[in-house]
Each structure stands twice: as structure tokens, then as C-alpha cells.
């Protein structure tokens, strides 16, 4: 059962990712990205990370895909004829295979002491987040605030209409 779910979710994750990098239609790419991200939420569920799965569906599925679709519609980038890959795509294949060739052997060497998947519950996670990780948590909220104010300032139209 575990294998079946893992294989199914991996197929959806990698298939969606391949569609994102291969399709010629930008809106289709955004929808394929949604499939991939929701399948990743399923992977988190297999790993007993329910909170992360929830956050993944809410933030990626709900917010980030919508923002990307807004970007596509507002820039009309779907109407561009030369939407496909640029000239350096063979180089990109080589770079991606190179990274894969480094990562896969590194992961195949099993030097770590593994135990069964744990099942941390919500209170433990919240305890850790608001005690040990309280300062990074506050810094993250500050980063989000500054980034969104910056986004508004960059994207707004000035008085001269530019």
C-alpha cells in the first residue's frame, strides 16, 4: 500500500514537473505545476507531516498558483509565439543531468542511521516552533512583510502613469 501510494504520487509529481518544463502553453504549465504541488502534498502525508501537507495545499495550491496565473494573464505571455525554450537548452540538459549524476550516487550511499517514520503531532510541532524557533519565526514574518511592501511599491503605477 505504501509502495503503491509512493509510486502513484511520484508519477504525478514528476509528470507534472516534466509538463511544466516541456509544454508550450503557459497556462497549461501553471495547471501542471498545480498537479505536481498537490502530489507533493500527498508525499508529505506519506511522511506523516500532516501540517506541512495542509500548508502546501493552502499556500502553493491556493496562493502561489493564483499569483502565477495573475502574472500570466496580466503580461499576456501566453500570446508570445517564441514561448518555447531558448538556444541553450542542450547546455541545460547537460547541467541537469550533471546535478542528477552528483545527487543520485550521494543518496545511494547509505551512511545514515535510519529509523521508522516518526509521527510528531501538532502540539509538539507548535511547541518547537514557538519556543526553539521563535526568533527565526518572527524574522520570517518580517521578511514576508518587507517583501510584500516591496512588491506593492515595485508594481504600482506612479503619478506620471509609468
Amino acid at each position: 500500500m505504501s509502495w503503491f501510494l509512493f509510486i502513484l504520487l511520484s508519477v504525478f509529481t514528476l509528470g507534472g514537473a516534466l509538463a511544466v518544463v516541456a509544454t508550450r502553453n503557459v497556462v497549461h504549465a501553471a495547471l501542471a505545476l498545480l498537479v505536481s504541488l498537490v502530489a507533493v502534498a500527498g508525499i508529505y502525508l506519506i511522511l506523516y507531516a500532516e501540517f506541512l501537507a495542509l500548508v502546501q495545499v493552502l499556500i502553493y495550491g491556493g496562493a502561489i498558483i493564483i499569483v502565477l496565473l495573475f502574472a500570466i494573464m496580466l503580461t499576456r505571455s501566453g500570446e508570445y509565439p517564441r514561448i518555447s525554450d531558448n538556444r541553450q537548452w542542450p547546455l541545460a540538459v547537460v547541467a541537469a543531468l550533471g546535478v542528477l549524476g552528483v545527487l543520485v550516487p550521494a543518496f545511494l550511499i547509505r551512511g545514515v542511521d535510519q529509523s521508522r517514520p516518526h509521527h510528531p503531532d501538532f502540539p509538539e510541532l507548535a511547541n518547537s516552533l514557538f519556543t526553539r524557533w521563535a526568533i527565526p519565526f518572527e524574522v520570517a514574518s518580517l521578511v514576508l512583510l518587507v517583501a510584500l511592501i516591496g512588491a506593492i511599491i515595485i508594481a504600482r503605477t506612479g503619478e506620471d502613469g509609468r
Binding site: L52, S77, I83, A95, L125, G150, A155
Partner: protein, 109 residues
């Protein structure tokens, strides 16, 4: 039994696909999507490691979910990054009427 290694191999494949997308795509929006794929690969790796590796104390294994918390921070930064990227893409589109990255060569030497 699905082990840690299989999740790590999945995350490596996802990361490589995202890297290909960042290097090969032409539209800035598609590059942002590929960056999201790479961030998700990192998150899978963090969460898989966090749920498989606990710490041992007096012969008993305790859960250690620092990886999950770091993944929450990664998701936060990804949200901030997408917001800023949308703003910058809109600005570039307004000024230059294109979002193709190889036509945005004003700062290219």
C-alpha cells in the same frame, strides 16, 4: 518498505527537472515556476529526512522535526519570492512589453 533513499531520489529528480526549466525556458513566468519546483524538491528532502532520522537518547528514538520547521520557513520565503517576482515581471512588462528573459538584455555587457 519505502525508505528515506526513495524520497531522496524523488527529490533529486524533481530538482534536476526544475534546474532544466530555469536554464532552458524563455518566459520569466515559467522560470519562476521552475524555481518553485526546485524549492519543492528541497522541501521533500527536508521533510523526508526529518521524519526518518530521530535522535537517540538512552536507547530510545525520539522524533526530531526541525526539518519540518525549516520547510515551513522555505515555504514562507517561496511565497515572498513569488509575490516579488510577480511585481518585477509586471514592471518589466510595462516598460519593455516582453517577459522573455533573452530580450531583457539592458544590463548585459
Amino acid at each position: 518498505m519505502v525508505s528515506l533513499m526513495h524520497f531522496q531520489l524523488l527529490s533529486a529528480a524533481l530538482f534536476a527537472i526544475g534546474l532544466y526549466g530555469v536554464l532552458a525556458r524563455r518566459s520569466a513566468v515559467l522560470i519562476v515556476m521552475s524555481i518553485e519546483l526546485m524549492l519543492n524538491a528541497v522541501n521533500i528532502n527536508l521533510i523526508a529526512t526529518a521524519s526518518h532520522l530521530g535522535y537517540r537518547d538512552a536507547g530510545e528514538v525520539f522524533a526530531n522535526f526541525d526539518g519540518q520547521i525549516i520547510a515551513i520557513f522555505v515555504i514562507t520565503v517561496a511565497a515572498a519570492e513569488v509575490g516579488l517576482a510577480l511585481a518585477i515581471i509586471l514592471r518589466i512588462y510595462r516598460n519593455r512589453s516582453t517577459v522573455n528573459v533573452d530580450e531583457i538584455d539592458l544590463m548585459k555587457w
